[in-house]
Amino acid sequence: MNAQQSLWEFILLQWDKLLEQTITHIGLTFISLLLAVAVGVPIAILVSRRRSMADAVLGVASAMQTIPSIALLGFMIPLFGIGTLPAIVVLFLYALLPIIRNTYTGIKGIDEAVRDAARGMGMTDKQILFKVEIPLAMPVILAGIRTATVINVGVATLAAYIAGGGLGEFIFGGIALNNTNMILAGAIPAALLAILFDFLLGRIQQRKPESIGKGILVLPFVFMLLSCFYIIPSTGTGLLAGFEPEFMGRSDGYLGLKSHYKLNISSVVVSDAVMYEALYEKKLDVIGGYSTDGRLKAYDLITLKDDKTIFPPYFAAPLVRSDILKKYPELEETLNLIAGKISDSTMTDLNYQTDILKRSPEWVARKFLKKTGLYRPPQNGSKATIRIGCKIFGEQYILTEIYRMLIEGNTEFKVETKTGLGGTKICFDALTNNQIDLYPEYTGTGFLVILKPASSIIDRIMSDRDEVFKYVQTEFEYRYGLTWLKPMGFNNTYALMMRQQDASALGLQSITDLKEYIDGNK
């Protein structure tokens, strides 16, 4: 009951977004469907007249269907960038096969005597096509359109990965935030849409060919009308922001931008895998990214100052089991060697070397340690084994390597790394369950994701980095028996980013500047 209520609350709270996403979803589905019908039906008709082409065309269309939709989406980015176009292209390709196949089957299935009679009575090829073949094949063609519609409603959720909008925004946002209500708010309408369209098209399809008659001519117009849905929300001028699903749902993300800055920017949801590149290619103007991401450097981006501090500090520090530290005090000394040594720009540079230049984390870590004079060759000791965990993204791999080299160079411990432990929850559970001894964690994550303090505490201390650090240090020791060692120096927080060129041209330095610029342009 409780869960249902809060789902309902979520929907009430976000109904404008839900409506927009649903409309976009319908629009995406039908604009691609319309294109697929417009292209697929003529192709099928052509192919039905040339047997030799049939196998080739149907083969290609079938092959297309076997490509996983997310991969197909990936292929489209280099060709069409992000946003509506690649999403529509992918949906179009997916809808093509059922439409071509069914039209072909429908026309081939017509009684040869009927076609012969039509010719024998003096109908022209065109008259035979429009008066005999298409009407008789219509139920089968409609079945194909119906299949394509249901496929499209499903695949359209993936559009949210490339800023195409639709109900996938809630679904993937919900998955990223582990927010069941958010997932359901996207998944239930998507399922209902599929059921509804399936039902409606089923009703039309089950009518007999003779009674479909001219009514079928209405269908393209209905489709076109539904397609128009899509155009409406995407109008609007000015700057366009792209945010990843998780950012959209976080209070220290999009919601904070809205409530604290009253920032009213038109935004799309986009996967962080393509977000930076899209900004660089001017498909987007503002993104919410991570402040130490290597792509900042690669694409010449700058971060806007968070002058109202809605983004909490995310200072990275080793999070270690306290019992290990007591047992091996030299471990703390060793790890503190790196404290305060990595600045934001240094971390960005290190990330740049792995993410963009594709160097191995090990190579990057060694080069960094050598440069700062901290590198010692491994002692190959065997006093004990220290197990280091790591979340599944680039920066963590580098930090893990740095820890390993420091420990192996300065102590007699052996190090075992357990990389790629997924997200925060997996790493943290591994640590508390004594499966690893330490991993690099961020203060903001410890604060908001693990401790989840009351909002009064959040409001009071969130903007103060030292207060937050003290809070997590005390609470972690008290609750979990874990110790936060000294931060390494950089703050990998959320930040709004723009192209350097734009920001200086518009004179924007902070998020407040951005807000004023947008409001001034309305």
Binding site: D111, A113, V114, D116, A117, A118, R119, G120, M121, G122, M123, T124, Q127, V132, P135, L136, K208, P209, E210
Partner: protein
């Protein structure tokens, strides 16, 4: 009047039809008879150019059929198919209206014509006009197929095994019905069949085909009793006696019949001048009457089984 001259059709190197010539006079029915693969259907389909001839000439009422656009030609020729080929998504009335519509008739005249044809083909317009083909029996469908071919009252009718898809019982009765239809009386008809009985019953002339070539053309009696080749002779061997009796009509043996006076009625029954001997004989064997009376131009003659056997022998001897 249809004139076909030296008509040939080659598919790649093989000849489907080779050097076929014939004439069909106005109001006459010509039956193309042969086994499957004999080229009879190909010949028929060349007349309305569903198949384009490789060489040869076709003229219809003095005009070359090959000179005009095929669609225009086809609209002036009725076409009846074995598997009726009715449009399943059209009602009976709509099916019949197809050609008039292609010819641009007014709605009113189309409706009137449809109504008239349904009546003539013994299909109640009230009951059938708005039905769909699949709601009709095979025989009824075939009648609608014929009505459709007759819709624009074309002078020429091409029929491709028109009764081929019907069961034997329906087939016989529909054929009888067709024979009696007024609407067909003045049509020039070319019909394809592999059924000898059907050919003899319906054809004024029969064009016997084999391997794409025309073997013999003539009346049923000519084919039976004056075969021009071994093929013509052997073609009818299986059912020779039956076919011979069917090939001969009362008019063929008229001269050998005995005259009778008006008073000679007895328990005789009446026979038709055009009736074939098979029918007459069946009546004589099955019925109580020993004799049949035929009248022609105020002359009355009597037929007995004796007469039939005698005439048959006479014909075979020639």
């Amino acid at each position: 009047m249809i004139v076909v001259k030296n008509l040939s059709k080659f598919f790649q190197q093989t000849a489907a039809v080779e050097d076929v010539s014939f004439e069909v006079k106005e109001g006459e029915t010509l039956v193309l008879l042969g086994t499957s693969g004999s080229g009879k259907t190909t010949t028929l389909r060349m007349i309305n150019r569903l198949i384009e001839p490789s060489s040869g000439e076709i003229s219809i009422n003095g005009q070359s059929a090959l000179a005009m656009p095929a669609e225009i030609l086809r609209r002036s020729i009725g076409y009846v198919l074995q598997y009726n080929g009715l449009f399943p998504h059209y009602t009976v009335a709509e099916n019949i209206a197809i050609v008039p519509q292609l010819l641009g008739w007014e709605k009113k005249s189309i409706r009137a014509r449809t109504h008239e044809l349904l009546l003539k083909l013994h299909l109640d317009p009230e009951r059938f006009a708005d039905r769909y083909p699949r709601e009709l029996s095979g025989g009824q469908q075939q009648r609608v197929g014929l009505a459709r071919a007759l819709a624009s009252d074309p002078p020429i009718l091409l029929m491709d095994e028109p009764f081929g898809s019907l069961d034997p019982v329906t087939r016989t009765s529909i054929r009888k019905e067709f024979l009696g239809l007024d609407v067909l009386k003045r049509k020039t008809i070319v019909m394809v069949t592999h059924d000898i009985e059907e050919a003899f019953e319906l054809g004024d002339k029969i064009c016997l085909m084999d391997g794409g070539k025309l073997k013999q053309i003539g009346t049923p009696a000519e084919l039976m009793f004056n075969p021009s080749s071994d093929f013509s002779r052997s073609f009818f061997d299986n059912e020779r006696l039956l076919m011979e009796m069917k090939a001969l009509r009362v008019k063929d043996i008229w001269n050998s019949l005995d005259k009778v006076g008006d008073e000679e009625q007895g328990n005789s029954r009446h026979a038709d001048f055009n009736e074939n001997l098979w029918v007459v004989m069946q009546d004589l064997i099955a019925g109580e009457a020993q004799t049949k009376i035929v009248s022609r131009n105020n002359e009355r003659k009597v037929i007995t089984l004796q007469h039939i056997f005698h005439s048959l022998k006479l014909f075979k001897a020639n």
